[in-house]
């Protein structure tokens, strides 16, 4: 089980900093930073800049994404913002608007 879970129905306005993995099912507005994996589940809303390890998105993210690892945009994901990561996958059915920056 993930060490930090933002459940559906919960809204955090502000800054979230975590050492371990974070699962977002609810809403975060502000900033989200994690050293480990971040999962934005379906139905979740993240209106924040995200800096993390591996990032998996099935919900909505509005903000710039910086990942030290890979970013997976799954089907149903809605992402508006620039993505900087070592690897990125965008599944069929994911909506994405923004720049992609990979260390080429």
């Amino acid at each position: 089980m993930a060490s930090t879970v933002i459940g559906a129905g919960i809204t955090i306005e502000g800054e979230v900093t975590a050492d371990d993995d974070v699962v977002v099912q609810g809403t975060i507005r502000g900033k989200l930073t994690s050293r480990d994996a971040v999962t934005v589940e379906s139905g979740a809303v993240v209106e924040a800049d995200v800096a993390s390890g591996p990032l998996s998105v099935a919900g909505a993210v509005t903000g710039n994404i910086t990942s030290s690892d890979r970013v997976d945009l799954q089907a149903g994901a809605k992402v508006v913002g620039n993505v900087k990561a070592t690897r990125i996958t965008i599944a069929d059915g994911a909506q994405f608007k923004g720049n992609v920056d990979m260390d080429v």
């Binding site: 060490s3 930090t4 879970v5 129905g9 979230v16």
Partner: protein, 217 residues
């Protein structure tokens, strides 16, 4: 909605600066600065630190809180809890831990806070030492100086009457802090009879001893 069983966990290494709101249960093992206001249950685990007001349905504290706790149902402070702030809930249980603050249980329709505060002069002293009610409660210590006066005035009734409330107070302090302010304001008038007169500040001298000293000098 499936949010009732949706649990939100702020993990050990997680720090939230800002507002946490919504419905669903919340478990805090990390740090929260800002405010916490949820409709569900809030559990602040051992190692958890909340530097803000917390409101919820039921609040269980095993960690540290610096802020007011307000619950619509109950508050329980368990072993390891450290709270600096006021507690307000229909039911307040302090099973263990340390508290410094005002406690109000019941439906909150009683006397307004200001009135209680003015009556209970000893409030900070009580709040400062909540964890060791059995050892040396501040409540008993405070009225001690006035004890001899009352005993001298009439040996029988006030002392005997005072003997009754004193131990009860101690039990109240440990069991339900909400009762404490009222109990103390009562105690202000009725001194604890358990303790005898305090030791004399000035050592007693025999009659004529002063004169003898003067003569020697």
């Amino acid at each position: 909605m499936a949010t009732r069983d949706a649990v939100t966990v702020i993990g050990r290494g997680t720090h939230v600066r800002g507002k946490v709101a919504g419905d669903g249960d919340l478990e805090i093992q990390g740090r929260v600065d800002g405010s916490v206001a949820v409709d569900g249950d809030v559990t602040i685990e051992q190692g958890g630190l909340v530097a803000s007001d917390v409101s919820g349905r039921r609040i269980v504290v095993r960690g540290a809180v610096k802020g007011d706790l307000t619950a619509t149902e109950s508050i329980a402070l368990e072993e390891g809890a450290r709270v600096v702030g006021d507690l307000r809930a229909p039911r307040v249980a302090i099973v263990g831990g340390l508290v410094r603050g005002y406690v109000q249980s019941g439906d909150g329709q009683g006397a307004p806070r200001g009135a209680v505060k003015s009556a209970a002069v000893a409030r900070p002293a009580v709040a400062a030492k909540p964890a060791v009610p059995a050892a040396k409660p501040a409540v008993v210590a405070a009225p001690a100086p006035s004890a001899p006066r009352a005993v001298q005035a009439s040996n029988g009734s006030p002392a005997a009457r005072a003997a009754q409330p004193a131990p009860q107070q101690v039990a109240h302090v440990s069991r339900e802090r909400a009762e404490a302010p009222r109990a103390i304001s009562l105690a202000g008038g009725a001194p604890a009879a358990k303790q005898g007169p305090p030791p004399q500040v000035v050592p007693s001298l025999k009659k004529g001893a002063k004169g003898a000293l003067k003569k020697k000098a």
